[in-house]
């Protein structure tokens, strides 16, 4: 920060310069200095206090409280005995939790990759401005406006073994093994269906953000490149995407967080939530089950902290990588 704060070092040492190299300035009268201090240092913070209070209240407190709870036994609705890192050591010896951790990570990688790629294609098409692009932009946004639980139920119907349109389509494409194929009987095929549903839901926001980013790269640089004979693809890969890099990093971070947070689709689409036989359990779902059905908020707190640390680490890596490259 480049706020110049008048040092109080001159106070009481009459005759000495108020600050090094400040011999050309006379020490100001105290009241004026105070006023300046107030204006430059105290006032901004004072103005920030209401906002800070809100942020600390709704972000800081829950985080601190979650970390605190994670060191205690959960006893129904009360905080139980202090167990130190007991909840954490329990977690990392629980093979269902470890499997969920790995599953969530793989799911997130596939989701983020799929979301970013499809969003980019959508954004580039919309940016190229074909006929009806404006209406198309609005239509693209629609899935985003849909409640996730509702879209989860509809995707579950799409993948219904008896009446679902997915099986009907696949069979008509000649893939007869999908006749009555039960998508939600195994973990892998359930995850395929859920991934599609989640990607479908996250593409709109990312695509519209990318569209805005692409629009911002139109200008002299692009024109110069075109004049020099760069192809459409060259323009996109060599000029526009590198120019959008900060945006792309933020979008990647955001969709990673979205993917780790995916919960509604898992809850609605699998029976029982996280089933069959634990094969679609992800971190968010396990945390919820621990907190609200096992009423063990200690373990749930520990799971939330693990997720938090993991996401913080991933975000830090993303930011570091971009910083190094630019």
């Amino acid at each position: 920060m480049a706020i110049t704060v008048p040092r109080s070092g001159g106070r009481g040492r009459s005759g000495a310069p108020a600050r090094p190299g400040g011999s050309d300035r006379l020490p100001r009268p105290r009241s004026k200095r105070r006023a300046r201090f107030f204006d430059r240092v105290a006032l901004p913070f004072l103005l920030l206090v209401p906002l800070l209070a809100i942020v600390i209240g709704i972000v800081g407190y829950p985080i601190v409280r979650t970390v605190y709870i994670s060191f205690f036994d959960g006893a129904l609705l009360r905080v139980g005995d202090f167990v130190g890192l007991g909840n954490y050591s329990d977690l990392f010896t629980d093979h269902y939790f470890l499997a969920a951790l790995l599953r969530t990570t793989i799911f997130a990688i596939v989701c983020v990759g799929g979301t970013m790629l499809i969003s980019l294609i959508v954004a580039v098409v919309l940016d190229a401005g074909p006929w009806g692009a404006r209406i198309a932009t609005i239509i693209v946004l629609l899935p985003w406006a849909m409640p996730r639980v509702a879209s989860g139920i509809i995707w579950k119907w799409i993948f219904n073994d008896q009446y679902g349109i997915a099986n009907w389509l696949l069979v008509h494409l000649g893939l007869h093994r999908f006749e009555g194929y039960a998508w939600f009987n195994s973990g892998f095929s359930s995850l395929v269906a859920i991934t599609l549903a989640v990607v479908w839901h996250s593409v709109p926001f990312i695509a519209i953000s990318m569209l805005a980013g692409l629009r911002a790269t139109r200008g002299e640089v692009l024109e110069a490149a075109r004049v020099d004979g760069a192809s459409f693809l060259q323009c996109l890969l060599r000029i526009r995407l590198p120019m959008m890099k900060p945006l792309l990093v933020i979008l990647t971070v955001m969709s990673t967080i979205f993917a780790y947070q995916s919960f509604d689709h898992f809850l609605v689409m699998t029976t029982p939530p996280g089933g069959p036989s634990h094969s679609t359990e992800v971190l968010s779902l396990l945390t919820w089950l621990q907190a609200f059905t096992e009423l063990d908020q200690g373990t749930a707190g520990a799971m939330a902290v693990v997720t938090f640390v993991l996401l913080a680490a991933i975000t830090a890596v993303y930011v570091r990588v971009t910083k190094e490259e630019t």
Binding site: Y61, P62, F308
Partner: protein, 433 residues
Amino acid sequence: MQRSWARLMRVGAAATALALCLTACGNDSDDSGAAGGGTVSGAIDVWMGDPIGAVQQPTLLQLGKDYEAANPGTKVNFRFLGADAHKTYLTGIAGGTNPCVALIGNTWTPEFAGLGALAENPQSADQMKSTYVHGMIDSTMFEGKSYAVPYDTGVRALIYRKDLFDKAGLQAPKTWDDVLAAATKVQSENPGVNGFGIVGGNQWYWLPMVWNWGGEIATQADGKWKSAINSPQAAQAFNFYADLLTKHNLAPKGSVTWQGADATKAFALGQVGMMVGGSWDLKAILTQKPDLESKLATVAMPTGPGGDSTTFAGGSNLAIFKDCDNKATAQSFIDFMMKTDNLTAVTNKIGLLPATVEALDRERTTGAFSTPLLKAYAEQSTKTKVTPPVATWGKVEGTGAIVNAMQAVMNGQKTADAALKELSDEIDAAIGQ
């Protein structure tokens, strides 16, 4: 990031308090002096969750008005919670914002009593036995004391296609072996019809088979509950049900994750010959396909090798919360709700049986459950059991542990013995505290 549980609870409690204030505070001015005393006067809050939905709400609101008219100076403030009632109650318990009277799921009763949230039911054990359906009384108990009165009860029975059975020369199944034989025959003779509606995703359609085979879910010794699911009888029951799907192919493969609604839909579409189903399932089938009514029949649950044909008693109880400051009015309102006419007015709208002996007798002999199609349910309602009355039983249900075990057997991931061993450990971890 997952917000802290406690924080959520507080926000929820605050929101509930605010909502309550917005809806109820306006009426509170007239209840001064009523609290604590024995007089029936003043306002009470009454919360009702599932199975009270939009269809039943007008009936209940009318009952509230009737009560107010019969008891001048009282006011009944209803709040209908919908399907998420369990969490709303838990939030209320944590935040101290519960109503006076609540309709709660019967399996939640020991849980809420264990949290110290419910007021004890003043009725004696003998009084209860002569008033309520036996299987439902157990669901109000926690550590030897009753904390609620049974309100409605729902049981399952066998629903089958009488037309297809007649065509094949089959009688109504009496044992589970009859079920297997009949389902196999119906399926082989009617292309496109599945012999049996498997409901892999909902334990209440098949967990009672453990009782039918002579096993137990959990047993009590020295006041402590312990899982008994790791038994040969339970393994045989699990294998029998899984085999209906995996060995005999009597249902579509997707039925591993089917819920009751999936089976009733398939049944209504004429794709299922027989299923275990509650009176509400029967209602769902006939709503979707009214002309099936003449082709359907119901019969009480089949007997297993253990000589038992018990099914689970689902249903709800009416409870008074401990923090209620107008218990006299709350109790008088419950007494009013339990009067046979008032009770059956609601249970008929839900399609469930009333849980008092008097009302049940009337329903069975002259009431809604005296029809040939519903008689089996009234008959079955005397052969029921409930889940272990332990405060932490909800953990077993909520995590889907039982369903996961059955699905692991159906998907061939585990043998029944291995799956039940793991389930047994999970049940002990949950209820053995």
